[in-house]
């Protein structure tokens, strides 16, 4: 059996592993900051997947060399890495930091109201029982 193509896929498998780690953190962790970190890991792993789509064996970074910029027309597309996934991921990075800012702002609001970052303690407070000793609301 030929293992070479499988080895080529190992990169993709590693990306998927990181993605699922992030998803696991979002689903299972009870701490809100942990959930947000999980979301960050998930988003970044998707970006890694995209960037790897653009990579080409034996190509250089997507900035034209002086020779290619001077010569008219004869640019070999295989010599440069595909710039499109990079553009998309620049957008995605900025979107992820925007989401992070809003999520942290909401977390701070929850902290101000409930004095805890644990989701189960907040839910307990909402149901009306005192929850734990950590639930001292800050004015």
């Amino acid at each position: 059996m030929d293992f070479a193509p499988l080895l080529g896929k190992a990169n993709f498998w590693a990306y998927f592993f990181i993605m699922l780690t992030g998803l696991y953190g979002m689903a299972v962790k009870r701490n809100l900051v942990k959930k947000i970190i999980g979301l960050g890991i998930f988003q970044t792993a998707i970006m890694l997947f995209y960037v790897s789509i653009g990579s080409k064996e034996g190509a250089t970074i997507p900035i034209l060399t002086a020779a290619d910029a001077a010569g008219r027309g004869g640019i070999d597309a295989a010599a440069y890495i595909n710039p499109l996934p990079h553009v998309l991921m620049l957008t995605a990075i900025v979107v992820s930091v925007a989401t992070l800012g809003v999520a942290l702002a909401l977390t701070l609001r929850l902290w101000r109201r409930y004095g805890t970052l644990e989701e189960d303690e907040i839910l307990a407070r909402l149901r009306g029982d005192p929850g734990g000793e950590a639930c001292t609301p800050r004015s």
Binding site: V33, I93, V97, G101, L117
Partner: protein, 81 residues
């Protein structure tokens, strides 16, 4: 050679991702997340995505970490999981 560096960074990335979620201290988790972002930026530069790596170094490892630190400083670093 670049393949070996890639593989090593990828391995460290996985370790950092798991550790950032498992460590029982939010400040530690935020620092590990910053390390994860920085390793990601290295990985992208080695894949030839210089612009994306640059942005991740400033936004992911820089501003995101600062935001996390600020929020944790304002709240608590204790966590149950």
């Amino acid at each position: 050679m670049i393949q070996e560096i890639n593989a090593a960074i990828l391995l460290l990335l996985m370790v950092c991702a798991v550790a950032a979620l498992q460590v029982r201290d939010l400040m530690g988790a935020a620092i590990l997340f910053g390390a994860y972002s920085f390793l990601m930026c290295l990985q992208w530069v080695s894949l030839g995505a210089v612009d994306v790596g640059f942005t991740e170094a400033t936004i992911g490892a820089g501003v995101s970490s600062a935001l996390f630190f600020a929020a944790i400083f304002r709240t608590t670093r204790r966590t149950k999981d």
